[in-house]
Symmetry: D2
Subunit: 398 residues, 4 copies
C-alpha cells in the first residue's frame, strides 16, 4: 500500500506520470483511488476476494447480455474497477461462468435478480438492461451512484421524441434533465461532472465522431447527408431470434429498418445540435455476416469552396490528441478488421467522383467504442481516472 502511494506521489511530483492523461482529482470519499500495488499490474483477480481487490466497486445490471460480458472482459484488466454486483433476472442464481464460459478465469459474484441487489455496496453502475425497462430502474437507484446507461432510454433529450420512436411515455422525465450524452471525445467536460451518462448507440458513435467536427466548422452542408451503415450481428444482442441464426446471417447481407431505425433521432439530435438547425439524414443500416464491427460510409456535400483536403485537415486537427480516434493517412481505407476488440475509431475522407461531394468512412467495434468500451471510458472520466484506463487493448487481428 505505502509503496504504491509512494510511487504515486513521486510520479505526480515529477509531473510525468500519466502524460497524456488528465489530472485526477478525487473528491468523493468512496473513490479512494489508492493505486494499490496489485491494482497497478495488468491482471485478473482470480485468487483473492472480490471485495478487497480493487478500490472502486462496480455494479453491473443486465450482465447476461453481450455488452455486459464485454464490460466484464474490459474490467478484468482495469486496475481500479472491480465488479462486485451483477444482476441478470432470468439467470439469477447462476454463475457468470455458466452463462459466459469465456470469463471463467475471473473471480466474479454470482448473478442475482435486480430486485435483490444491495446498491449501497457499490460505487458505480453500468446499466446494460434492454430499452424501455431502464428508466424505472435507474430512477430507483441511490443518487450517490455514478451511472452509465448503455440503453437508449436516456439518449433523447426530447421526451416526446422518445415516446414517438419507442412507443411508450418516458418514465423518468425529471432524471432526463440531468443526463449527459456520453460521446466521450465530444462531451468530455460535461461527462466529468455527470452523475448519469447516457452512453451513445453504436451507429450514432460512428457517425457523429466524423460529422460533428465538420458541421461545427461549417465544412459540409446540412442537407443530403446520406449514411450507409453496416453492422456486425452482435449489436442485435443475445436474444434467440430466427433472423439472427447463423444459417440466416452467414454468407449474405441485407438492409433492415430502412429509414426507420431507432438510432435516427439520436443521430439527428447530435447533428442538429451542432448545426444549430434541424438536420434530417438518410440512414440505411445493413446487417453483415460478422460478429463485431461497424462501418459508416457517409456521403456529404461540401460547403462552397471546400475540398476534401479541408475536411481531412479538420478531422486530423480535431482528433490529433485523442488516443481512441485515429484519422488515417491520406488514402488509407479504414477497415473494421483493424479495430476489432478495441476501443478505437478509425476514419478517413475521400474525394467523390461527383464534384463538390466527399465520402467519409469511419469504423468501430460496435461492442467496444460502440458500447461497453465507451461506457468504461466515460466512467473513468466521471470518477477522475485517466480515460484510457483498462482500455488500451490493441485490436485483435487477424
Amino acid at each position: 500500500m505505502s509503496s504504491a502511494s509512494t510511487i504515486s506521489s513521486i510520479c505526480f511530483e515529477q509531473g510525468c506520470w500519466f502524460k497524456r492523461e488528465r489530472m485526477i482529482r478525487v473528491s468523493d470519499k468512496r473513490v479512494k483511488r489508492l493505486a494499490s500495488p496489485s491494482s497497478l499490474s495488468f491482471r485478473v483477480s482470480a485468487n483473492s476476494s472480490v471485495k478487497s481487490e480493487k478500490d472502486i466497486r462496480i455494479g453491473l445490471l443486465g450482465a447476461s447480455g453481450y455488452t455486459g460480458a464485454e464490460i466484464v472482459r474490459l474490467l478484468a484488466n482495469h486496475p481500479h474497477f472491480g465488479v462486485t454486483l451483477m444482476t441478470a433476472d432470468r439467470k439469477a442464481g447462476q454463475s457468470m461462468e455458466s452463462v459466459f464460459p469465456h470469463l471463467r478465469a475471473q473471480k466474479l459474484p454470482r448473478l442475482i435478480s435486480v430486485k435483490d441487489a444491495d446498491f449501497s455496496t457499490v460505487d458505480a453502475v453500468f446499466c446494460c438492461l434492454p430499452h424501455g425497462t431502464t428508466q424505472e430502474i435507474i430512477k430507483g437507484l441511490p443518487t450517490a451512484l455514478k451511472i452509465v446507461d448503455l440503453s437508449a432510454d436516456f439518449r433523447l433529450r426530447d421526451i416526446s421524441e422518445y415516446e414517438e420512436w419507442y412507443g411508450q411515455p418516458h418514465q423518468a422525465v425529471e432524471l432526463q434533465k440531468e443526463v449527459v450524452y456520453g460521446l466521450t471525445e465530444l462531451s468530455r467536460e460535461d461527462i466529468k461532472k455527470a452523475r448519469l451518462v447516457a452512453n451513445p448507440g453504436c451507429y450514432p458513435t460512428s457517425i457523429q465522431l466524423p460529422l460533428v467536427p465538420l458541421l461545427k466548422a461549417n465544412l459540409i452542408k446540412h442537407e443530403n447527408i446520406i449514411i450507409d451503415a453496416k453492422s456486425g450481428v452482435s449489436g442485435a444482442g443475445r436474444g434467440a431470434k430466427e433472423a439472427n441464426l447463423y444459417s440466416e446471417i452467414a454468407e449474405g447481407i441485407s438492409s433492415y429498418g430502412v429509414t426507420r431505425h431507432r438510432h435516427v433521432p439520436e443521430i439527428e439530435q447530435g447533428l442538429s445540435d451542432v448545426a444549430q438547425s434541424k438536420v434530417t439524414v438518410s440512414f440505411t443500416p445493413h446487417l453483415m455476416p460478422m460478429i463485431r464491427g461497424m462501418q459508416s460510409t457517409i456521403y456529404v456535400e461540401m460547403a462552397s469552396g471546400i475540398t476534401t483536403k479541408n475536411l481531412y485537415q479538420q478531422l486530423r486537427t480535431s482528433y490529433e490528441d485523442e488516443e481512441f480516434v485515429k484519422v488515417l493517412d491520406e488514402g488509407a481505407v479504414p477497415r473494421t478488421h483493424n479495430v476489432r476488440g478495441s476501443n478505437y475509431c478509425f476514419m478517413n475522407v475521400f474525394p467523390d467522383r461527383i464534384p463538390g461531394r466527399a465520402i467519409i468512412i469511419s469504423v468501430i467495434d460496435n461492442l467496444v467504442k460502440g458500447a461497453s468500451g465507451q461506457a468504461l471510458q466515460n466512467l473513468n472520466i466521471m470518477l477522475g481516472f485517466p480515460e484510457t484506463t483498462g482500455l488500451l487493448h490493441q485490436p485483435v487481428f487477424p
Copy 2:
C-alpha cells in the same frame, strides 16, 4: 431427331409450350438444336462421349477460374449445350476435376492451352480470360463462332475510355464496333443478332437493372446518384492474393477502389446512354465476408412531383414479364441470401427520410446473374434457345 422436332412443332402449334420463352429459329447449320431425347432430361453426361451428347458444342476459354467453373456447373443441366473444349494455360494438361473437384461427376474434356485449341470443333465460346488479354485472343477466333466475353475488354464503346481505365490501348478496335453489350433484359433484341456479346460486370448489372428504367421514364434526376455497393469475395477471382485470404476477409468489411473502381465507366456509359447526357455517379464498392452475393444500395433524387410509388410501379411494369428480375412486394427487403446460386435479381424501392429522395436496393449472385448465368442467358438468346434454358436453378438457401 424426329421425336424432338415433333415435340417442338406440337408445342408451338398449341401455342402453349414455352409460354414465356421466345421463338427459336435456327439458321446456322452448326446449330442443329436437335432436342434429342437425352438432351431434354435434366442430367449430367457422365457416362457417354462428350461430343455426341448434346447438340451445341461449347468452347470455354479460361476454365480454371470461378466464372469458368460456374459456366460448367450451369451447363451440366443444359439440354443443348455441351462443353467440348476447355482451355486454361497454366493448368494445361490437367483434368477439370483436379482443378475443381466439385465438378467430378461430369464428363469434361481435358484442359488445354488456348494456343492448342481447335476452334473449328466448337459452335460457340464463353471467354473467361482476364481483362487485358482477351481482345487479342477473340480477334483471332473464327468469325463463325458465337462468343460471349465475360471480361471487361469489350464493354466500353469508347476505346479511349478503355485505354484510360485499363492503362493500355485497345487491341481490337474494329471488333469493338460490332460488340453488343449484353445486359439481357435491356438489350434482348440486339443480343439475338449479335455475334460477339460483351457480358456486363457484376456491379453494372446490379445497378443498371433498376436505374435504366427509371432514368428512361425520367423519374429520377441524373445528378447525385450515389451507389453504395457490397460484394462477396468470389468476384475477385481465384488468384492467390494476400488481401483475399480467409484471415483477411472473414469477420470484417472494407471499402476498396473508392471512386476509382473500373466498373465506373461501364456504369456511367449505360446510364448516360439512357439519360442522353453524361451521368457521373458516386460509386463506392465494399468487400463483404461472403463468397457470393452483391447488393447495390442506391440513393437517388426523384424528379419533381415523383414519389417512390411511381418508381416502384415503373419497375414492376418494366419487369413484370421477366423470369429473372423480380420486384419484391412493397416493403420487402431484397437479401443476397435469397438469390444465392441463382440467376435472379431481386429489387425494391424505399422512401427516404429526406423528402424527394428514394432508396433502391438490388441484389444478385455476382457469379450467376453478375457473370456466368447472364452469359448463358445471352448465349441462349444468340443461338435461338429459350433464354431460361439451364438457368432455372432455384436459389440455395440456407
Copy 3:
C-alpha cells in the same frame, strides 16, 4: 393434357427416353406420369396453375423448416412432382414466399394447418415434421399415399430403443413394422416396394455409406470404430435458439452431445445389421461454423491381413455404378465444399500411421444427401421414376 400423354407414349415406345435411368413402371392409378410438355423443360411453374402442371401431386408436411424448403427447391426442377399441398401449423395462412423469400419465383400453394389438409388430393407426402410428433400424424394418413418421413420417428426398428432415446413411447407400433429404412444405395430394392420410408439422419448417412460395405466384406473389425463427425449448423433447423445465433457459432467450433447424440442408435442399428452382431461405436459430433456440409472422419481397425488398398478397392467396387456416391482418386481428400448444394457423397480411405488402422473420410451436404435430396431420391424410386430425377444439380462452388 392430351399432348402430354402423346409425348410420353412416343418417348416410351422409342425406348430411348432416360438412357441411364432405370425403367419406369407405373402400376398405381394415382401415378399418371404424364410427362406433360411443360414438365420436360427445366423450369419453374411460375405462370400456370399448380394443379395442372405436373403429374404427381406432392404434399409437404412441415414446410416452414429448412428441409421442407430444400424439398421445394429440388422439386422446382423435377419434371413430374409438383407440390400441391403444404402445411406449417405456426405459419398457416402465410405464403411460402413470406416464409422463404428465395422461393418467390415458384408458384406454390398457401401454407395451411395440417389438420386442414385434404390428403385425398395428393399422391405422395414428404413429412418434415419434428421428431416426436410425426408418428401420430403419419398413422392418420390415407394408406394409399406414398410417404417419406424425414424425422427420426420411424428410423429405429426396436421400439424400446426409440423410447429410450426419445423419452416417450412409440405411437405407431404397427406402422413401424412395414417401414423401410431409406439409405438409398443400400436398400434400393426394398424402397421400390415401400409405402413408408424412414429417411436416414444426416450423420447415419455419411457414416453407413462407407462402413456398411466394409463391414459386409469383413474388411474392418467391429470394435473400436471411432467416428469424429462435423456438421454445419443448418442441421439444427430454423428454431430460434441462443446456441445457434451467428454470434455464438461463427469463428469457433465445439463438440456437442458427446457420446449421447440421438443418431447413435440409428448408426449402431445399421452397422449391427450388417455385422450380424451388436456394434458399439464411439461417436462425437462437432458443430462447425458453416451452414451446410457434413464430414465424418472415421478411424477403424482393419481385419487381419487387410490393407487400406483393400478397403479402397471394396468401396470403389461397391459404388462404381452409383451416380451419387463417389470414391475419389487415391489420396484425394473429400471436402464438404465440393458437395455443397448437391446430392453427392464423396469419400476416400487413407492409411493411418498406426499399423493396422485406416482413416475413412466421407462428406455430404446435410440438407441434401443428408435429408431432402435422399428423400426425393427415395420417392423417385417408390414411384417408379429414375432415382436421379430432379437431383442432378451440381455442387455450388465456390
Copy 4:
C-alpha cells in the same frame, strides 16, 4: 545477458518469484525495471520514444507475419518489454502500420532487413521466421541474447528426424543440444535457465497439455491414441495461397496432411519422452472456416481399471495452480470461442460409449497459447518476470 541472468538469479535466490507476480528487483542499467509509473499502467507508448519507454528491448524477427503481429499486440500492454527492432525482409523500409494497420496506435520501429539488424541493441529476440531458414539466422545471433524461436527448426531433438520431415539437414546441430522445448506448464524449470527456447507448435501444445500428465500417471495406454484435430486458418500464415482464399475456406471443412502433418514427430517426441517408450499416434488435422482457434479431440484407451473420473481428477490436480490451463467443470464442453484472443487452454474429459475408452477435448487460440502468447510466457520466465505478465487479456467473445 548478464542483466537477464542477474535478474533471474536474484529472483531465484529469493525463491519466491512466481507465485503470481512477486517482487522484481533489477540491477542492470538497461534493465531499469523501475516499475516506473509509465510502465506500470496498462497503456501504449504512442507518444514517447520507443527506446526509453520500457526496460527490456525486444527484437522481433519476421514481423510481417501473423505470429509477429500477435507478439506486437501482446507486448503493447507489457509493462517491461518494448519492441525496438523489427525485421521483415520483403517489407524492409515499410512501417509496421502499413503492413498491419491494426497496430497503428503503437509507436514501433521501422521494418528492416534482418541483415541490417544491430543485435547489440536488444536484450531478447522473438524469432518468427519460416521453418528451414531459422537455424542459420539464430546460429549467427550474439550468444548474450535470450531467444524464443517460434519456428519448427529447433523443436526436434533428433536431428535425423528433422531432416526426414523437413527434407534438409539441420544447419545448427551444436545449438540444438542446448535448446529447451518450451511447453511452459510442463518445462517451466528448464525454461528458467534456457537461452534458446523452441516454442512448441500449436497442435503439439493442444495435445501434449492433456496427454502428458495422463501418460505420466500411467492412466492411459500408449497405443491407439487417435487425435482428430481442427484448426483455424491463421495457422497457415499470411502467405498468398489459393487454398487459403476466403472463397476456398469459408463454409466448408477439410482434412489435410492426413497422417503426414509435420507436427507428428513433435507430438510423438513429447509423448514418447513421458511414456518412456516410442509412442505412435494417429493424427488427422482439419482446416476449419475460422481465423483463430484449435481443438484437439483425442480418443484414448484407458489403463486397466481406470475410469474417466481418474483422468479428470489427474488433470484437475496437474493444472490446479495454473493460470492458463483450465480443466472445466465436469460435463462442460470446451469451445474454441471461449479462448479466442487469449492465452488460455480449456480442456475436459468425457466417457466414451465404448467401454474402457475416453474422449479428451482441449482448445486453444492457435496464435496465442499455440504461438505468440506461449512465446511471451516463455520469455517472461527466461527473463525472470512473472509468466503472466502482459498475457492476462481475457478471451474475446462473442
